[in-house]
């Protein structure tokens, strides 16, 4: 890798907050203007660093919510006992500055050349890098078929709901709502389990490529479940998030 490119990714850059979109009551997307941004791949994340007046610094990692070529954005879920997420989701305003480093990650990434069929499985805010993958696929007009199984606590907590509802060609979105369902709901209403995976996932015979992202307990259950269905472990990529609200 060229020395300059590595140096760029290693350096903390000062980003300016652009637009802010509230995705749900607790989740907000922040667009960031990052001068000298090196570009990113779908599924990568960036690190952010905040500095308080007394010099105290806090760093966190957030998945990039947008596709390569789109402006950089992160989607942050507010954790009630968090130190950084309440600041990012409640205090930060357009024009404010934060430091970012990245993009980071060469494992949990997808490009059309990686093929499919794609099996995407999201728990709560684990949807963020998977949405970047979906957008990248759409922008590249990739014919790779996709199934997304997305677990959320309730309909009001589904992130990017309207966008996912758009029924993009070749993309099937299956929701499961684990805690509360709207009146008339006929979809799944429980945590992802083996029978659900057997019904929803591409068959192993199709040699699917799976990306599983969310809280660790979700990822462990789902990844093991896919392998139990015959998925090749090398084609089940996992990214465990820390605390999420799911």
């Amino acid at each position: 890798m060229a020395g300059t490119a590595v140096r760029g990714r290693l350096t903390w850059l000062t980003a300016t907050v652009g637009s802010i979109v509230d995705e749900t009551a607790k989740v907000r997307t922040l667009s960031l203007e990052v001068p000298d941004w090196a570009g990113h791949r779908a599924g990568q994340h960036l690190d952010i660093r905040l500095t308080a007046e007394d010099g105290y610094q806090a760093e966190r990692a957030y998945s990039i919510a947008t596709a390569p070529g789109e402006p950089v954005a992160i989607t942050v879920e507010r954790l009630d006992d968090g130190e950084v997420s309440p600041y990012l989701t409640e205090e930060l305003r357009p024009g404010d500055q934060i430091e970012v480093r990245g993009p980071v990650g060469g494992y949990f990434v997808w490009d059309p050349v990686d093929g499919g069929p794609l099996m995407l499985l999201a728990g709560g805010s684990g949807i963020v890098p998977l949405r970047a993958i979906l957008r990248h696929r759409a922008r590249e007009e990739s014919p790779v078929p996709v199934r997304l199984l997305y677990s959320s606590r309730s309909w009001s907590e589904v992130i990017y709901r309207a966008e996912l509802d758009q029924h993009a060609p070749g993309v099937a979105v299956i929701h499961t709502l684990t805690r509360e369902q709207p009146a008339g709901w006929t979809g799944y209403a429980r945590r992802v389990d083996q029978p659900m995976l057997a019904e929803v996932a591409w068959s192993a015979a199709q040699a699917p490529l799976a990306y599983v992202c969310g809280p660790t307990s979700f990822v462990e259950t789902v990844a093991a479940g896919l392998v139990a269905l015959g998925y090749s472990p090398g084609r089940v990529k996992t990214e465990r998030f820390g605390a999420t609200g799911s």
């Binding site: 890798m1 590595v6 990714r9 290693l10 994340h45 960036l46 690190d47 760093e59 990692a61 006992d81 480093r101 990245g102 980071v104 990650g105 060469g106 494992y107 949990f108 809280p215 660790t216 307990s217 462990e220 990529k237 996992t238 990214e239 465990r240 998030f241 820390g242 605390a243 999420t244």
Partner: protein, 86 residues
């Protein structure tokens, strides 16, 4: 606080720190456990971050593979638990 098992992460979470320490993308690097020999990508290793430092363990035998402690801008790195990292 979230359930204890949800607090264990994987190598993806420390990609930025590894980039800083090694100067290159490391989540796709392959580590071999010095205790049980299990080979896996760094992205898939078990990562514990108790606030005092970062402890990376083999998923198969829990052997400590890497420890990172950052004090005053200096990162102490211990890779003794790895048989190899390529």
């Amino acid at each position: 606080m979230e359930p204890l098992e949800d607090r264990v992460l994987d190598g993806n979470a420390i990609g930025g720190m590894l980039l800083e320490v090694f100067g290159t993308e490391m989540t796709t690097a392959t580590g071999a456990c010095g205790s049980c020999g299990t080979v896996g990508q760094v992205a898939e290793l078990a990562v514990y971050r108790p606030g005092l430092g970062t402890v990376v363990r083999c998923r198969h035998c829990d052997n400590v593979l890497m420890v990172f402690v950052q004090v005053s801008g200096v990162t102490c790195v211990d890779l003794r638990g790895l048989a190899s990292l390529t």
